[in-house]
């Protein structure tokens, strides 16, 4: 899609996961250089298709926002496409003219921007990407600001308010992370906060977070490495260094997880179960990622088999480890068939997870999860650009781990996650008493919710 800011709370585009057992020697060869102003530059050559990807990560996301100004990091991202000092109009036109494509996205931890251009247009992409890193504010007008605020309000309507179970997704974020936690609000923000934002907020935010010392630039594709590095230094080297922002600290988890219900314009009730889980790359992260596959990826997975295939109490079920920098959330989501209450699903899911905890996990099902993971890992090496392409992965590893070359060690994490460790992770993190429970039910049908749920109204 060419719509700016395809932003996805679950970040489906890129889950850092998945491994190999017999495939070896897979990695993303790179070189890394830090400019004098602090900008990290990572280069990867791949001459197989005449295109080159430019990808920039700013280590800022909705976790850096403050209550009262939620949604701001993402609104700001939109403004990055509206022009900079030396090209004060839209960013799409010149890049499209060169045959390029571009987009950006915001999540709680980071904001990314990318272009994929024919290899003859690399300089154009670097010129533009550097102009908005160095010289955004002179081009900012109230008119652009107000227009993009309206666009974002419509993005919120389209993505959440007018989409089945959309508001439940927002309610789940609210329930999982307690007040005071930097993940307590959704990246899209609240409408009131968005309307309260001012152009002055934009200026302050830019100065604090958008500068070389808080960014990582990756260039991947059909380009000579020396030339790419020289161009990066030329275009970005003149941008003044900034102060690295302070790290955001997570709040302690809630003492007692909530049980809530929301009413929504839906036909069938859906259950959301969530646990706070280890941060991305921490011990247990890869294990829970594999467990999510064991539980709910494909029709041979445990929960599909138990709930959909055999007992026929659910129409669909999914599970995932939503890996995040400050702490993750493991979620299981299932939709009930007509006439079945969500309490039935809740009990059945906890029962399956308890069986995993209590040693009932076969080598065969873990092997299957590993095989699926390996395929996904290798598939990720096919594209140089875009969300989840090699340039995005290099920046991902660089920003979160300081090591762009982590791909092969990432594979190792999954290779080393044997039965005992997966079980231990389930034991440590997926206790039923620590589970946040949210029911989304059709209007007026609260009786279908999981028992003892408290009604909440999202807006």
């Amino acid at each position: 899609m060419w719509r700016v800011s395809q932003y996805d709370a679950r970040e489906r585009q890129y889950t850092p996961k998945r491994i190999a057992v017999p495939t070896s020697g897979l990695d993303i060869p790179f070189r890394k250089h830090v400019l004098d102003n602090g900008l990290q530059v990572v280069i990867h050559e791949d001459r197989s298709c005449p295109i080159v990807a430019v990808n920039v990560w700013y280590h800022v996301g909705s976790k850096n926002e403050v209550p009262g100004r939620t949604g701001f990091a993402h609104l700001f991202e939109h403004l990055m496409f509206e022009g900079s000092a030396h090209h004060a109009s839209g960013y799409f036109e010149p890049l499209q003219h060169a045959g390029g494509t571009l987009n950006g996205s915001t999540n709680p931890d980071r904001t990314n921007y990318w272009e994929v251009v024919p290899s003859n247009a690399l300089e154009l992409a670097l010129w533009m990407e550097s102009d908005r890193m160095g010289f955004l504010l002179p081009a900012l007008t109230d008119e652009k600001f107000h227009n993009q605020r309206d666009v974002v309000l419509n993005e919120r309507r389209q993505t959440y308010e007018n989409r089945p179970y959309g508001m439940a997704g927002l309610a789940m974020i609210d329930a999982l992370f307690p007040e005071g936690h930097p993940y307590h609000w959704a990246t899209i923000g609240s409408p009131d906060d968005l309307r309260a934002a001012t152009a002055d907020d934009v200026r302050a935010f830019f100065r604090r977070y958008y500068h070389p010392a808080n960014a990582s630039l990756a260039i991947a594709g059909d380009v000579d490495g020396d030339r790419a590095l020289a161009l990066a230094a030329a275009y970005f080297g003149e941008i003044p260094a900034g102060e690295p922002p302070d790290a955001v600290a997570p709040a302690p988890p809630h003492a007692r997880p909530s049980r809530r219900v929301v009413e929504d314009r839906v036909e069938l009730p859906r259950l959301f179960l969530g646990w706070l889980s280890p941060a991305t790359y921490a011990d247990g992260d890869a294990e829970l990622d594999l467990l999510a596959d064991v539980l709910a990826t494909g029709k041979a997975s445990r929960l599909y088999r138990a709930l959909v295939y055999e007992r026929r109490v659910a129409t669909d079920v999914s599970a995932y480890q939503g890996s995040r920098e400050l702490g993750s959330a493991f979620q299981v989501v299932a939709t009930a068939v007509p006439g079945v209450g969500l309490g039935v699903l809740e009990a059945a899911i906890h029962e399956e997870i308890a069986r995993v905890r209590e040693a009932d996990l076969s080598e065969d099902e873990l092997d299957r999860a590993r095989a699926l993971t390996e395929t996904a890992f290798v598939s990720r090496l096919q594209s140089v650009g875009g969300f989840g392409g090699k340039s995005d992965q290099l920046n991902h590893y660089n920003v979160f781990l300081g090591d762009p070359g982590y791909f092969s060690r990432d594979l190792e994490r999954y290779r080393n996650a044997g039965r005992a460790r997966v079980r231990a992770a389930a034991e440590a993190h997926l206790a039923s008493g620590q589970c946040v429970t949210l029911s989304a039910v059709p209007l007026g049908q609260r009786a279908l919710a999981a028992p003892d749920s408290e009604l909440v109204v999202m807006r």
Binding site: H86, Q96, W127, N162, E238, A300, E374, S383
Partner: protein, 463 residues
Amino acid sequence: MSAVDRSRLPRPGPEPGFTFPVADRQRLGNGLSLATVQRPGLPMVSVVLVLPAGSAVDPAALPGLASMTADMLDEGTGDRSAIQMQEALARIGAELDTETGPDAVVLSLSLLARFVPQGLQLLADIAVRPRLGAPDVERVRTLRTNRLRQLRDVPGVNAEAVFARALYGSHPYGHLSIGSSGSLATMGHADVSAFHRRHYGPSSATLIAVGAIDGTAFTRQAEDAFGSWQRLADAPPAAAGPSGGMDGGPAGAQPSPRLLLVDRPGAAQTELRIGHVGAPRTTSDFHALMLLNAVLGGHFSSRLNLNLRERKGYTYGVRSAFDFRKMAGPFSVQTSVQTDATADAVAEVLTELRDIGGVRPPGEDERSLSVATLTKGYPRNFETSGQVARGLAQLAVYGLPDDTFDIFAPRIRALAADDVTRAAGRHIHAERAVVVAVGDCSRVRGALEAAGLGEAAIVTADL
């Protein structure tokens, strides 16, 4: 390197060339067509099986049967249960992707190179020897019925269903491939078996492999897996539109009613589809229409998006598209707009449709931007093995020549301004565009009717 000149944007150097890879084409004794493209690099192979068994060949009384049949393929074969089949796929790290479009069913597997032989055996079991047992059909039918119930809450699906029906009526393109609950209720396992027997045969199918495999090896493995596939007794019947229509679509008369509303009380936005029957993939105007649509609503800097999103802020995005199919597919503008801007947004869209073939033909700037967008970025459409495999599948479905992708950019570049304007006159008709709106009727109906679209018909999607 000297200091950067920020007074002007750098001008790109000479364009890199592009040619679509030449496929190694073979045919098995039973008529199954094979196409292989070997690509060095990653140890992966994209395998695609494409069959002309899409929703356009649904029996009139059973919309959704093609899609139901495709869904049943991986629910067990021979003495392997549905679960055992899924376990076998997962063991080689494969997930089957099944897509039922109007003109074709496309089955895809992304395989690690070392698993290609097993993957092909499983794919043959799936396509050729599915079990299609009564209990499995019953189970999947219930799942699909529930899925349809959920889709009733999705504004875009309601809009698509009503739009297809308004444009095509009983024509094969008049329903969504998922069908309707009414149809599902009467669909039995005998229907599924009969559909499979009638439409799944080797001589009209194409098997494609792209990646770390050469044509000789692939042909041998395909022979092992698919060689015993029996030809159909009769040639599968093709979908047929009513006679007298343009390019197989319904005749281009003024539709009545033009304004169809699906009520969704309290909706935060109105989901819109605006358009009419377009043109088939094989139209001689294909390239002109691609360029025309790019100017109108085919990319971010197109007229519609700059107007409705970047100037008015009514929406998160809007696009237009000619859905090129075997017969004339729909032309539509698709968007979701804030409720209080619904009538204004519709008026703006209709104005854009009218103007592009009339008072405001594509200007030179717009034309050159859209030519660049369509042609200079073209190689990126074929970066991955999956993309190349899908390209080959397109050639198979529409019967297009091997040089289709090579001639695309030169043809687009060769278009004169007049060609595009003429194509607009021939293929875009604001005055008979149907408007489908899914939203809060109490808040949008009056303004829409006042906009000169005639009296609204309040309808429901048959999901």
